[in-house]
Symmetry: D3
Amino acid sequence: MKEEVFFGEGMVNVKKDYPDLYEAIVGLNEAIYTGKVLDYRTQKLIALGINAASADKRATEKQMMSAMKEFSITKDEIVDVLRVVLLTSGMPPFTKAMKILYDLED
Amino acid sequence: MKEEVFFGEGMVNVKKDYPDLYEAIVGLNEAIYTGKVLDYRTQKLIALGINAASADKRATEKQMMSAMKEFSITKDEIVDVLRVVLLTSGMPPFTKAMKILYDLED
Amino acid sequence: MKEEVFFGEGMVNVKKDYPDLYEAIVGLNEAIYTGKVLDYRTQKLIALGINAASADKRATEKQMMSAMKEFSITKDEIVDVLRVVLLTSGMPPFTKAMKILYDLED
Amino acid sequence: MKEEVFFGEGMVNVKKDYPDLYEAIVGLNEAIYTGKVLDYRTQKLIALGINAASADKRATEKQMMSAMKEFSITKDEIVDVLRVVLLTSGMPPFTKAMKILYDLED
Amino acid sequence: MKEEVFFGEGMVNVKKDYPDLYEAIVGLNEAIYTGKVLDYRTQKLIALGINAASADKRATEKQMMSAMKEFSITKDEIVDVLRVVLLTSGMPPFTKAMKILYDLED
Amino acid sequence: MKEEVFFGEGMVNVKKDYPDLYEAIVGLNEAIYTGKVLDYRTQKLIALGINAASADKRATEKQMMSAMKEFSITKDEIVDVLRVVLLTSGMPPFTKAMKILYDLED
């Protein structure tokens, strides 16, 4: 199931046209999210923070949707992630991510 | 105590020479790490992930030291953070952060 | 007034739902733009340069609008900022920002 | 004179071994720092802000040295630039640049 | 011809309103793409890789279109570039660039 | 052999302590550098360009050493890569990479 959660639409094409690459990504993904000690949910929060910090709208949106749908991560939890984004990465990525979050809510 | 944990040496000068700026940073820091729902420890893991993802040696080193000293965050927990860094940000920030981690251990 | 200038729509939600965070951001903003020696207008030009250099369309657009509306910063002044962006950050952020500038003009 | 100010040691090798590239960079540099309306000093402050925001130690250090030596830009002026860096880019580039500034002072 | 290939719409305005800057960019562009040993096609692949790695949608799209139209660079060649992007820069820029590539194909 | 070329010292520790992660990285690496159409050498040039563009000293240095040792990539070829870095990413990463290149030569 993890794969469906993780991979967006773009990966459908990779699977069809570049199966060797797809297999490697699946293998990598398995190794990432079978951490030794942190649970998958915490790792998703970290991924969300990293994506939001890079001010990448598309990646942030996808992570937020996956976080809320698959892990029942709440809006307040996401805001707590974005607090860290504000401190480490400044206002532009913070306000961009806040806007994405509120737009998703509507 | 949070302030001592958070602020590095550089902030001593800010406090002395630019007290208005220092006060604002203290206020910001308080608002960041008094999240509504996530605990401080989880927020530190997120900050660590963001810093490592940006391949900033100095910031990553400081976050790792603070994480291990003040929160007893273990090496395996940090590696689980770095797994996410590998997936979201690629090999160079991952190997750089792994090297910092092993150097700190010695 | 500075707050209205500075804060975009996203901040309205922060103020309503996360007042502690909002207060900290207001405090930070005050400390940033009450510099000791540089005037506010020069600091806005610097913020504009940093945002354009990071190739963040949303942040660049907002800074340009605020710069032109609130500080009567001219198109030629913005282009002089973007010259520095070209030298320090390359063609993609430069051409992106030039396009934003000309689109705003229309 | 502008060229000596602008170009670091690395450019000596470019001039010797890749004169075509060197000429293009000189031409670019002339076009950047002969802005239409902003003076050279203001453009240097913007370049300093962009370099510090990218957390690039080497580039930040060079810009600070050039700013102080060639333009008599003061420490307080640089801190006012770094205030903007803090707001737009977060704590890690801010504290890194503050440390560089204080180390240069000593 | 190289100029038409290289410069997007935004440069039309630069040429008209800021001819000095335009000339410097043309000179720079000439010096970049008249490499000593690598051919222009290989340099375009490198530029494509750098733009995709920075997750800049607009720049990546432009580079891909120019690569396919002017240099008959194939989809499989671009995917081989994006493999390197995945390894060096992680999943978000990789999946973003893959989506741009497949959207361009349609 | 590709693995020895690719992986730096840091990976020795990953192999020993986190074999699952190591296996995934090996698998990924195989999928990256067995491109369909571009040869390995060209992909290395692209990786070098991406690393230099991100102004990451450690990663740039490693890529340059690997490029020169394992693929007999010449100094002039690397400079042709760095020309593209200058155009896409500006002076600071360009001059930093040029300095690394000349330091390696000595």
